[in-house]
Each structure stands twice: as C-alpha cells, then as structure tokens.
C-alpha cells in the first residue's frame, strides 16, 4: 500500500508541474494586454506603460512564471490585476459558493442515482427497468442550462418559491444559502444522476452475472441479501470513478450554471477574468482546479485500493 501511494504521489507532482507550465504559457501567449484593456480606448501610451509597470507586467515572462510558481508554493497566489485584491482571498470567497454547490449537487445526484440504478438492475428487462432507463436517457440528453431556465421559469417566475438567481450569502443563514443553491444544484445534479444511474446499473448487472453471486445465492442468501452484500459493494469501483470525475466537473464546469443563476462562484470568476484578461486570476484558478482534479483522482485511486484489496499488493 505504501509503495502504491508513493507512486501515485509522484505522478501527482509531475502532473502539477507540467500543468503549471502549460497553463501559464498558453494563457500568456494569447493576445490581449490587461493594462490596455483596463484603460480603454482613450488612454494614452504613457498611461498604459505606467499601469503595466504598476502591475509588474514589464518584467520578462519566464521570471513572472518563476515568481508565480514560487508564490504558489509559499501559499501566495499573487494579486488580481483588475480587482487589486489577493487572488487567494478571491478564490477563498468563491469557494464558499462553488464547493457547497458541488457537494449539494453531488449529494442529490448520488441520492437519485443509487436507488434508481440498483432498482433498474434488479428488475432487468421489466417495465421498472425500462422506465428508469428511459428517464436517464432523457436526463443525459437535456442540456443543464436549458433545464435550469425551465426551473427558473416554473419555480421563480411563476410560483415565486425561489429567487431567479443570486446568492443570499451564508451570513443570511444556512437555510437562505441552501435555498439560493437549490435550483442550481438540481439543474447540475439531474444530468449527472442520469449518467451515474446508468453506470450503477450496468456495473451491477456485470457483477450479478459473476460466479460468486451464484455461490452467494447457493449458500443460502436471499436475492436481496446477495445483491446488497456482494453485488453493490463490488459494483462500486466504476461508480466511484465516475463520482470522482463528476465532482471535479461540478467544481470546475459549473460556469454556465453560475452564469444562468448569476452565482458568485469560481466558474463566474474564471469567466469574468478571462474576458478582462486578468491573467493571474485565470492562471491561479485553473491551477487550483487542476490541483483539485488531480487530488480527487488521487483520492479515488486510494479508495479503489480500499474497496479492492487486490490493488494494494499489485504495483
């Protein structure tokens, strides 16, 4: 287990180093100067030069790269060009929206997908299975932003149960905060739940055909006992992989949903920073997302080893 963990750790660090290089240079190479963007079309060249100097944009690229990486290692993400506040604070604030939203959506999607997938697998080919599979097909096909708009139309504009967007803030209380995240979480969760339910079902069906399941039944377990004790546990590996991927996706990929509900989350921060050429914010947030995706994968790898003892001795 120790060797396995060390090996995973090494690959984690290598991936991070490569990612930082790619992110920095891809973003810096794209055209657009933050200083001239901020000063607009009436600014004079000397004003732009003064601002470039103030922002530290006049030093060579490689040096800025080293400063950036060095700063991150020391926990300092630098200062935003446009907002002029520390990037770490900005990210921290946005995480208070994005992280709960991702967890909320993931919880919803798991709560929907597990029962649906297990139910469908245990009723293979019967009307219940067909109904669940039909529903998931629909869930996979519907784009989440469209679904979000429909939710707004029904629950915000017509019924006035929720507001159409915005975030009440955790200061307003846990309930108020959860309430403003409910519609976004549902619109993020449903398509994910549909995918997860399908994975759960097919993975469970594979397991149900295995010899050890027959053995379990033969030693006197009921169908239900065999399903829960041996089936579900063994079917979890692919499901865990998908959950790990989904969590990363929910954290990084909720840009559109955050736009639709104008939530002050990470996705919106990236979106705004890209359009205002706030390079350092884009770089740092993307790096953070890469870090979280790689870390989640690392944790999922470790979780495999826990679920499946064979992996611990292998490699």
């Amino acid at each position: 287990m120790l060797r396995y963990t060390l090996k995973r750790l090494l690959s984690l660090f290598l991936s991070l180093a490569v990612a930082s290089l790619v992110i920095f240079f891809v973003i810096e190479v794209a055209p657009g100067d933050p200083a001239s963007f901020m000063l607009g079309i009436n600014a004079q060249p000397d004003t732009v030069a003064a601002l470039r100097a103030e922002l530290g944009l006049d030093v060579p690229k490689w040096q800025r790269y080293l400063d950036w990486v060095g700063g991150m290692l020391a926990g300092d993400f630098g200062t935003s060009y446009t907002y002029r506040t520390p990037v770490a604070d900005m990210i921290g604030e946005r995480l208070w929206v994005s992280l709960p939203l991702a967890l909320y959506a993931l919880t919803l999607s798991t709560l929907i997908a597990f029962p649906a997938g297990i139910y469908a697998a245990s009723r293979r080919g019967k009307p219940g299975d067909i109904a669940v599979m039909g529903a998931t097909q629909l869930g996979v096909a519907i784009p989440n932003f469209w679904f979000a708009m429909m939710l707004v139309l029904v629950f915000a504009i017509n019924l006035h149960w929720f507001s159409a967007g915005g975030f009440a803030g955790w200061d307003a209380g846990l309930w108020a905060g959860m309430r403003s995240l409910t519609l976004p979480a549902i619109s993020l969760a449903l398509p994910q739940a549909a995918i997860l339910a399908r994975v759960m079902r097919s993975s469970l069906l594979d397991i149900l055909g295995e010899d050890f399941m027959r053995t379990a039944r033969a030693k006197g377990l009921s169908r239900r006992q065999a399903l829960w004790r041996h089936g579900v546990r063994n079917a979890l590996i692919p499901v865990l992989t998908i959950i790990g991927l989904q969590f990363s996706f929910l954290l990084a990929g909720s840009i559109i949903i955050e736009q639709v509900f104008y939530l002050p989350g990470l996705g919106r921060l990236v979106f705004q920073s890209i359009s205002s050429r706030d390079l350092i914010v884009v770089e740092s947030v993307v790096m953070l997302l890469v870090f979280s995706v790689i870390t989640v994968n690392f944790i999922v790898d470790l979780a495999y080893a826990l679920v499946d003892p064979r992996l611990r001795s292998r490699t």
Binding site: M38, N42, I157, Q259
Partner: protein, 493 residues
C-alpha cells in the same frame, strides 16, 4: 464673466426628482450587466465603475444631469478670466468625505494633480492635459490655470474620471471608495453585489432612499428572469431588447428608452487599401441600410446617424440623407473606383450584440454590392490588441460611448487612421473657443467634414434601455455619461 448660483443647482435637482411623493419604501435593488473591476473611477476606463459610483458616491467640481446639461457640483460657482485661461472655483461649504474629513481646496488640488501627474493611470488623462497649474487660494477657493483656453473644461470636469478624492483614503479607494456623495459605500461581495446607504451628513439635497444594492447579471436570459421574478427593482442597460415589449405590456413594470452618447459606427481602416479610396468608402456608406440594422439587431431601438455626433445634442446636423441606402449607387461607385466585381475584406466583431448581430446584417448588405466581408468574432481584449492597437483590420463595428468625442478624428494615429489636416486645425480652433455660438458653428462644420469624407459608416445612436418596477421614479432615462444616479430616485406611494 460667467456666474452660476446655488439656485440653478437646486432647481435642477427639483426638476430631476419630479415633484415626488413621500417615501413609501426605503431601499432599491438595481441590476446591471457588468460588474466593476474595482471602485476607483479615476484609474480605469470601465464604464461599470461609473455606473455604480458616479454621483452616488463620488462627485466632481461639476456634474452631468440626466438631460446632459452640466451643473455645479462640489464647486458652488466659478469665475473665468477674460482670456479664458484662469478658472477660479468657489467650493461648497461644509462638505465632508464619508470618513468625516473635510473636503477643501487641498483635496481638489490633490485630485487634479494626481490625474495629470507623470505616473498617472487615469484612463482619460487627456481631459487634464491643458491644466498648467492648480493652486489653493484659501480653503474654499481653487485657481486652475490652463495653458490655452478650453471651451470644454467645465464639461471635462464633470466626467467620472475627474471626481474629487481625498489623500487620506486614496490607498484603499479601489475596494473602499470614500467620496462626498449622497450615498456611502457599505459592502462589496465580489461577483455578486455592492451595497450603498444614505449619507446622513450629505451637504446637498439628501437622498430619498435609505439603501441601494447593485447586482450584476450578465446573461440576457438571467436578466429577463431576474426582472420577471421581481428579484430586482431596476435593470439599467437591459441586455435583451427583444423582451421589452413584454415588460411594456405588463402593468408591474415600466420601460425607459433614452439616448446615450454611443455613436455606433462601422469603423473603417482609412489607411488600408481599398479603403484609402474615398469612392470605396462612399460606396460602403450607400451599401448600408441603417434601419434594417436597427430593426434587425436592436429590435427597433436606436436613432439613425449620418455623422459622429449625438442626435440629442443641440449642435447636431442630420446628415443621414448624404449616405442613404442605395445599392445601385454603391455598385456604380465601386466600379468607378476600379472594383467592378467588389473585393474581399475583414469584419471584426466585438462581443456586444449591436456588433455581433449588426455585423451579420452588414455583411449581407455588403455582399449585395459585391463586397465579401469575412467575419471574425473577437473578445474585447483581442479587439484592443489587433484592431485598436495593431490596426490590423478592414472593418469593425464599435459604439463610441465617450461623450463629445468627435475630437478623435483629429488623431491621425487613432485606429481608423483618418488624417485630414483641415479637420485637425478645425479641432484646434474649437478647443480654444469658449463662445457657445461659435462652438456650435465649428461643431457643425466638423460633423459635415467627416460625413463628406465618409470616414466611417455611421449607423445609429445606441439607445439606453432600462426596465423598472412601476413605482420607481426619478431614474435617468438618458445616459449622458455612464451613471446610475440614484440621488433623486424614490418610490411612489
């Protein structure tokens, strides 16, 4: 000598406020599309900054009113020397900044000197260039000396980039703006909202609202939903004009359609062949059907223009007839210029819908006379880099939102690269002319020259579109500068 009095200011406020009734509700939520990057109007071009802080938090020596007129702000009155070089401003008495410190002549000197300093990062530094000296006469009197007479000086001092700031609070101005306005800054949840509240110590007519919240909703669909769900009370610069008829028909809402300073033009690279040929530019002008663009891209909101000037300005000349839609004439002119089969060019479109939607229509209209315009969609940062700085473009569509900016045609290195010494001389004369009648005449001449030279394709004046709940009164319908002046806003009973 010109003198203005307190009375004029007070009556202007009263008119703007309407003879409103007593306050029924004390707070308001105002939504807009773009979030300001920070809150210092004196060090960035972003109009979103002024949309929040102008008049509400920060004030200048003079200020814009909703109708575009200039009235005294922190300067109670002023005297101009006979040669037009020395402005002596008498400041309002008893003005304090939100942090309790007094606003006096030293602060005015500090603000103006900071804006025109060598290392200044003021996006409109040109506004201050003519100033040769600022001196404090006594705590309530400032003397500003100009290098040459400038007929626009009082107008320039009304810009958001010329507001008065204090040396004590300048350090944190970007996140904690301290001004003299009728509202105080309270809180900014970045990405979400900015809260301001009534300043009880305000020197002038106090605000009628107790609190205001600015929200930032960039997505047009989300904007529509937010207004419909009544999450916001006002949406200024409403991004989905196609939904306005729905609000107009709904008694819960009112729609305000006004004018802006945004001349939307088909900018043409005057140095790039074939656009260096005036015949080609003239052909371009006749190939365009303005009304079709206004109807198709802006759902009918916008006023056709024939030159680079705001139609609501008293000095405006209607020159639209000179470039009427006439494809046959366009084709004939192209043939005359040596392009009987047309030519190919590029059309760079920045993100706003006037450009993206309008661009598609213009490309189709150009195709009709044989010009193939290859469309490239660009982000603003990229537009600034390739089009504005690099001048690497044939055509582009931009709304020039700065007020009274016909002077850009006198800058040969400006991105559309129009170089006409006669025009440059005319602008120099205009700058040193203070007599209003003479100025009007010169401005009209200037409009005619650029229309005659077909410098750019003049499309339409951008409309200011706002949606508000029916009970909100005192909002600006027009946008003489980017601002959401809430000082006179209140709720009807």
């Amino acid at each position: 000598m010109i003198r203005t009095s307190k009375l004029a200011f007070a009556s202007a406020i009263a008119v703007a406020a309407g003879l409103g009734s007593a306050q029924a509700q004390g707070d308001i939520t105002v939504a807009m599309q773009l979030e300001p990057p920070h809150l210092d109007p004196t060090s960035a071009a972003a109009g979103a900054i002024d949309s929040v802080v102008y008049a509400n938090i920060f004030e200048g020596l003079t200020r814009f009113m909703g109708d575009g007129s200039i009235v005294p702000g922190l300067a109670e009155s002023w005297e101009i020397s006979d040669d037009g070089l020395v402005y002596t401003f008498k400041l309002q008495e008893g003005v304090t900044f939100h942090d309790g410190t007094t606003m006096d002549a030293e602060d005015v000197k500090f603000s103006l000197d900071r804006a025109r300093a060598e290392d200044s990062v003021n996006a409109q530094k040109a506004l201050f260039e003519g100033i040769s000296d600022v001196s404090v006469v006594d705590p309530l009197t400032v003397k500003v000396t100009l290098a040459e007479p400038n007929g626009l000086f009082l107008f320039n001092m009304a810009w958001g980039d010329a507001v008065i700031v204090a040396p004590e609070s300048i350090e944190d101005i970007k996140t904690n703006p301290v001004g003299t306005g009728a509202f105080k800054f309270v809180n900014w949840v970045q990405g979400d909202r900015i809260d301001i509240e009534k300043n009880p110590e305000y020197w002038g007519t106090p605000a009628r609202l107790d609190k205001a919240t600015f929200k930032f909703i960039s997505d047009p669909t989300a904007a529509f939903a937010a207004v419909m769900a009544e999450d916001v009370d006002v949406f200024t610069g409403f991004p989905a004009p196609e939904n306005l008829p729905q609000f107009e028909a709904d008694p819960r809402f009112q729609v305000l359609v006004g004018s802006t300073e945004g001349e939307t033009i088909l900018s043409t690279n005057n140095k790039q062949p074939p656009f260096d040929n005036i015949k080609v530019r003239e052909a371009l002008a006749h190939a365009i059907d303005r009304q079709a663009i206004i109807d198709g891209a802006m759902f009918g909101y916008g006023t056709p223009i024939g030159t680079h000037f705001a139609p609501h300005h008293p000095a405006y000349v209607d020159l639209t007839g000179q470039s009427a839609h006439d494809p046959d004439k366009a084709r004939a002119l192209l043939a005359e210029a040596g392009f009987p089969d047309g030519f190919e060019t590029t059309l760079h479109l920045p993100p706003p819908s006037y450009a993206r939607r309008g661009g598609e229509i213009i490309a189709a209209q150009l195709a009709e006379v044989g010009i193939t315009a290859e469309i490239t969609n660009v982000e603003w940062a990229q537009w600034l880099e390739t089009v504005f700085k690099g001048k690497n473009f044939g055509l582009t569509i931009v709304s020039h939102t700065e007020p009274m900016d016909i002077g850009i045609y006198a800058r040969p290195d400006y991105y559309f690269q129009y170089d006409n010494p006669a025009f440059q001389e005319l602008m120099a004369t205009l700058n040193s002319t203070t007599d209003p009648e003479q100025r009007t005449k010169l401005l009209q001449q200037a409009q005619t020259i650029i229309a005659d030279d077909y410098v750019n394709g003049y499309l339409f004046q951008l409309a200011a579109l706002s949606v508000a709940k029916a009970g909100v009164q005192g909002l600006w319908a027009n946008a003489p500068t980017q601002a959401t002046d809430l000082t006179a806003v209140s709720w009807a009973e």
